[in-house]
Amino acid sequence: MTTVANGVNVQALLDAREVLKTAPEAAQFVWRASSKWQNGVHSTTTVKEFFGLGQEQTHKNEAVFDADHPDVFAAEDNGITPIEYLLVGLASCLTAGVASVAQNRGIQLRSVEATLEGKHDIRGILGADADVRNGFTDIKVTFNIDADASKQDIEALVAQSQKRSAVFDAITNPTDVTVEVA
């Protein structure tokens, strides 16, 4: 196979897969975020530590995310809307998947761009219509990929990336969520 350089260390991932097959405990990760109310509907959320491979881990840098609502919601727009973070997560997860699968399949990528559109009927969150759900009505992701591969192979990349995507799964399938007051 010709070597392609998409910058993904696929060998490390494949090795990890083999190791974790026999060590399921090490595969148990916990991702964490902590948030703080600022003012109005503005909050900041920081992400730094997580748990995995049997021990506490730390990102190189702490990341801080501002979330707010835009002017049209009569807010100050200090950051993107919380639901937009879902699009950020989905876009980055699928893109990472495309790069990894391409690397694994020996496909050289030149550019990968995606545009996402989440349709949202805000009557749900406003309580204006009890039959409208709070979340997205639907989400559409459109990939534009330039790579050394046929259209069919590129479609297969995108399909496989969805199949292995954490965020795609988290959005398309129900997750048990507990929210409590400490």
């Binding site: 479609e155 297969a156 399938n173």
Partner: protein, 376 residues
């Protein structure tokens, strides 16, 4: 004899493999319709004929309740006494129990739940709608039959294998066989675990040789929903990933058919087959529902067509993995003198089907005979 066919299949059952592919060692199909598909009665007769022909000393109605390792071999306990033996071939089948997800326990009791083992024909189900779960061979066949009986049918679709019944004028399984796909060996495939877990293809054997993919079911009025993920407050929650399971199946089918085309070109078989065909992508429902209220009375029955698993409860030798699968290398089990036959992709892709036993048995019994010779 032929117990699994006699007791564990529904009334209208036919093989999805064409008659000429139903081969047992020394016995092929000799009837008038090699391209047809056997009914359950015909399969049973075929196996009975083989029993007579082979003259194997079968002890019928004898359950093995335990197999234990001894110094020189195995102690086999049956409900009719013990058998001491130097070698054992496990041929107890891959589909002894239907698999049903754990969340089925949360289904309200007003909805009747059935597995393919309990299902016989539409008339025995309560009136009203049916939710069929799983879109592999069993699921698509039962969904079609139930829909034809006039019932509203919803089919929950996860990952699946789409195939046309015929391609370029030949049975798609002819292509599998002739092009060598079915000869792919277990030690040559990329991901054997996955290959062994591959769901059965969306195929049905009918005299019309009709394709029974999801588009055919949609045309019949079957409603498609995503993979059933959970039950919450009496509601079934379906995955929103339906489009992607369609894409995966459409792409994989096309890749397989492209491989057939390439094989036909390079092997000089073009003249035997019709022109290449293309198939419409799986049609995505206008808006697939994500929830179904199980208490609403909209569906009265759930048919779980979510696969089968083997049962090794009687095997007291530590050769079964944490997922309940037998650990073996092409039928050679990791315990001297212990062998397996009749499992999916045991030694080659065709192992999954009746058609595979001849080659597999030759290889596995070859190993067994040699092992006995060495040990004596």
């Amino acid at each position: 004899m032929a117990n699994s066919w006699r007791r564990e299949r529904w009334d209208s059952f036919r093989l999805l493999t064409p008659n000429w592919q139903s081969r047992l060692p020394g016995l092929g199909y000799e009837g008038p319709d090699p391209d047809g598909y056997m009914t359950m009665g015909e399969v049973t007769e075929f196996i009975e004929r083989f029993a007579v022909l082979s003259g194997a000393p079968v002890r019928t109605s004898t359950n093995v309740t335990s197999v234990r390792r001894t110094d020189g071999g195995y102690d086999v306990t049956t409900d009719h006494g013990e058998i001491g033996c130097r070698a054992v071939v496990i041929a107890s089948g891959a589909c002894n129990q239907p698999v049903v997800p754990k969340f089925s326990e949360a289904v309200p009791s007003s909805v009747r739940q059935l597995t393919p083992f309990g299902y016989r024909e539409p008339g025995r189900l309560p009136d009203g709608g049916v939710l069929v779960v799983g879109a592999s061979a069993t699921g698509v066949q039962l969904a079609a039959e139930l829909r034809r009986s006039g019932r509203p049918v919803i089919l929950s679709v996860g990952e699946h294998v789409r195939l046309p019944r015929t391609y370029r004028g030949r049975d798609v399984l002819w292509w599998m066989d002739a092009s060598g796909v079915w000869d792919q060996r277990y030690d040559e495939v990329d991901d054997l675990t996955r290959a062994r877990r591959l769901p059965s293809p969306q195929l049905v054997g009918t005299p019309e040789r009709a394709t029974l993919d999801l588009n055919a079911l949609t045309a019949m009025g079957v409603e498609l929903v995503g993979r059933w993920a959970a039950v919450r407050d009496g509601r079934a929650l379906f995955s929103g990933g339906l489009r992607n399971v369609f894409s995966l199946a459409d792409l994989k089918m096309r890749r397989l058919l492209d491989g057939f085309d390439a094989w036909a070109r390079t092997s000089g078989r073009e003249a035997e087959v019709g022109p290449p065909e293309s198939f419409e992508p799986t049609r995505v429902p206008e808006s697939a529902r994500l929830q179904l209220d199980l208490n609403s009375g909209e569906i009265r029955t759930i048919v779980w067509a979510t696969g089968f698993r083997p049962d090794y409860g009687w095997l007291d030798v530590p050769v079964v993995d944490e997922k309940g699968r037998l650990r073996h290398d092409g039928g050679v089990v990791d315990s001297p003198g212990l062998y397996a036959l009749g499992l999916p992709m045991l030694r080659r892709r065709r192992s999954t089907f009746i058609n595979g036993i001849e080659d597999d048995a030759r290889d596995v019994i070859g190993h067994l005979a040699q092992d006995l010779a060495v040990r004596s």
